[in-house]
Symmetry: C2
Subunit: 314 residues, 2 copies
């Protein structure tokens, strides 16, 4: 089952169920995705019972499936990315047997085709292609084994980053405020079962094709997460309840063979250049640049649709 | 003007305006504090026009003024606290000409008398008494000079902390998830003008009396913030719009003469003990312990009311 949110002028938009071919949709029995995840046990069967899709899906008015959330927690669970970044930045390896995770701004998720306003090109504008999940209410202390059942929807995310600010903020130990403006979401939120074989061990086995100004930049596989989304949920819920509609991200998708697979963020490409050539040659984004992200399953389908956005000045 | 939120069974409660003597209240022209800050320019005059308080204020059903928020950003701007903690933890001094700030869980703020559920005493259960402000919408790039006008309400907060988890999380650079469960708020949110001389340079010049199991633990002055709330807003808004209803905290209130003034968290007291005696002797909180926090102005008034809570097991 795939869900989308249409722009109807309200803060949270209007929830629709999308037909298998993505051309049409049907109104949901609740107004918003937030309401759906708050009452998932009751709402899900009603959503799944829909068989007729009377409306054309208006691609031009698709918002983020969850245009704002009460909580956004982003992991960093691809070891190839983490090790490269430590090496390039000259950081000591982060010693932790837990997933890395920070809390980010959740009051806005950009829609898939919305222009992204950045203040200054000198801040090191970068994209981070990743996957995410949306939970229902998760009680404090939920184990990883029990957490999988709380993964209600899978989403595709661009976690916008400002690299000139990221290092200094990280060194404070307080995490990122200025380096992490709001993220973007691809148009369709999909239930794990609808991903079929591509969803395994609470990990999305899809390739995330990232194109920057029309050229392919990366096509890494989402599968090799060191910690699955079940473990990320358990980590987040160790000392707090997770509100229904919590969004948890994987961090930048990255593969061990990143020289062949390409990267899901510019920082990683620059890191490879530093290792290979002694200095980075790829510049960060400029105003007017576009980035497109679309994850594909083995059969070539793109279950989340595409994020395709332009970076603009204020 | 003082505002409070009554428990009416809804997630955001019911907003009321509180009489000067705190005994009675009047319904607001909007349902919730979130709605009030979203439309503050229109709602504030209507709130201020209220002259009659027909309802008894039911102390037993007071919630946090903002029971949940779209964004909670907590600073750490009392230099005496930061320097002591660095010294005790053996950290390098954090080099930054910006305020320190992390993003925390905002999907729940405990009400002033709600029991606080913690999983395990061994996690180092601690309180952090502090002040906070609530903003209306703040555009990205707002300067500190312009930010003061966005401070709509002042609040008093307990930022619950789990010290056994805080150090390891801080060392990752990603900030805190497990070490920072939801905060609590005192019952009354107050407009800056109503604090009179106690509100100066976007700083609250009130003493925050903290009592642990009935004994005074600290009575530090909120005034000596290295950065005012105007500067904290500008820091947070550098690369993002701040959603209306953003809550920004000061971090643990601390004074240079902490041996006389006392502390607003146990970690600081333990730090003083380490410096003075070579080891910490004050243990963290136990299940069944209570902490009471009430800020007082020079005239002895307590504009925010008191937080008075018990820590309980799940």
């Amino acid at each position: 089952m795939r869900l989308a949110t249409l722009d109807d002028g309200t803060p949270d938009g209007r929830l629709v169920v999308v037909s298998a071919d993505g051309s049409s949709c049907a109104s949901a029995p609740v107004d918003t995705l937030q309401q759906a995840v708050e009452g998932w046990d009751v709402i899900e069967p009603a959503l799944r019972a829909i068989r007729e899709y009377p409306e054309r899906l208006p691609a031009e008015s698709l918002r983020a499936p969850l245009p704002r959330a009460w909580q956004w927690l982003d992991g960093s669970v691809y070891p190839s990315h983490a090790r490269l970044m430590e090496q390039v930045l000259g950081l000591d390896p982060i010693i932790s047997d837990s997933p890395l995770m920070y809390q980010g701004v959740s009051s806005k998720f950009y829609g898939p085709n919305e222009d992204v306003v950045m203040r200054d090109e000198e801040l090191g504008i970068d994209f981070e292609g990743e996957f995410g999940i949306v939970t229902d209410f998760v009680p404090m202390g939920t184990s990883a084994a029990d957490a999988a059942a709380h993964i209600k929807l899978v989403v595709q995310i661009n976690d916008w980053s400002l690299r000139a600010l990221a290092g200094p903020e990280m060194k404070t130990g307080f995490g990122w405020i200025q380096a992490k403006p709001p993220c973007s979401m691809a148009p369709f939120a999909i239930t794990p079962d609808a991903l079929g074989a591509a969803w395994k061990d609470a990990r999305p086995h899809l390739k995330l094709r990232v194109c920057w100004n029309g050229e392919q930049f990366g096509n890494a596989d989402g599968g090799p997460m060191e910690f699955g989304f079940d473990e990320l949920i358990a980590h987040a819920a160790r000392t707090r309840d997770l509100v229904a509609g919590t969004v948890i991200g994987s961090g930048t998708v990255s593969n061990e063979n990143f020289r062949e697979a390409g990267s899901s963020c510019i920082a990683e490409r620059r890191g490879i250049e530093v290792v290979d050539n002694g200095e980075a040659s790829t510049a960060f984004m400029r105003f007017g640049d576009r980035v497109r992200m679309e994850a594909h399953a083995a059969d070539g389908s793109a279950p989340f649709g595409a994020i395709d956005q332009k970076v603009v000045r204020p």
